[in-house]
């Protein structure tokens, strides 16, 4: 089973896009508490609807970066890594939905909306963490 993936060089590009976007995103959404820093309000599409385009750009960065990292080949590809990839993906999906299920029961209203917002990224991020963790573990065995 050979999987179709991007060439290895896109992985580096993915990390370069992902890490800064993640850091800026965390800063902007959770750490900085004033409404001015890192925002740029624009008025697009609708006459009286204003929204903050920096959020859009950061989310695009996180998603694009994560996608590039996930879907690029490793330097050495073989069947063992294929299996690692598949099992990491399943694990990430399972963990993501289990946590989401629990959060749905425990959080309500705006809190829950916050969680859904994070849930946009968590499957890909869980996969990245799990895959690389298993890879490093197999290298050290």
């Amino acid at each position: 089973m050979k999987t179709q993936l991007l060439p290895n060089r896109y992985k580096k590009l993915g990390w370069i896009i992902l890490i800064p976007s993640l850091i800026l995103g965390l800063l902007k959404w959770y750490i900085i508490n004033d409404k001015q820093t890192l925002t740029f309000v624009v008025n697009l599409y609708y006459k009286n609807v204003f929204f903050d385009i920096v959020s859009t750009i950061l989310i695009a960065g996180i998603l694009a970066g994560a996608l590039l990292v996930v879907f690029s080949k490793e330097k050495t590809e073989d069947e063992f890594i294929d299996k690692l990839r598949l099992s990491s993906a399943l694990w990430a999906i399972l963990v993501n939905y289990l946590i989401l299920f629990l959060c749905n029961l425990l959080f309500y209203g705006w809190s829950f909306l916050n969680i859904i917002a994070i849930n946009m990224f968590t499957t890909l991020l869980f996969y990245i963490i799990r895959f690389n963790y298993m890879l490093i573990r197999s290298k050290h065995a």
């Binding site: 069947e79 299996k83 890879l135 197999s138 290298k139």
Partner: protein
Amino acid sequence: MTNTLKIERAIKDITQEQLAQIIGVSRQTINAIEKKKYVPSTVLAIKIARYFEKPVEEIFKLEQED
């Protein structure tokens, strides 16, 4: 599935890395097979058996649970 890969490798006196390079997989794959953490594909099992000049089932054996 159990295997005698480690023993065969010791008989031929080559490292995991060397075997991996000859067969065309990563060292992690050979290591995972030896540790019984990974069952190789049919193609890989045949390649390995060919290298050791033995029939596949002499190196890779089915276990009770299989």
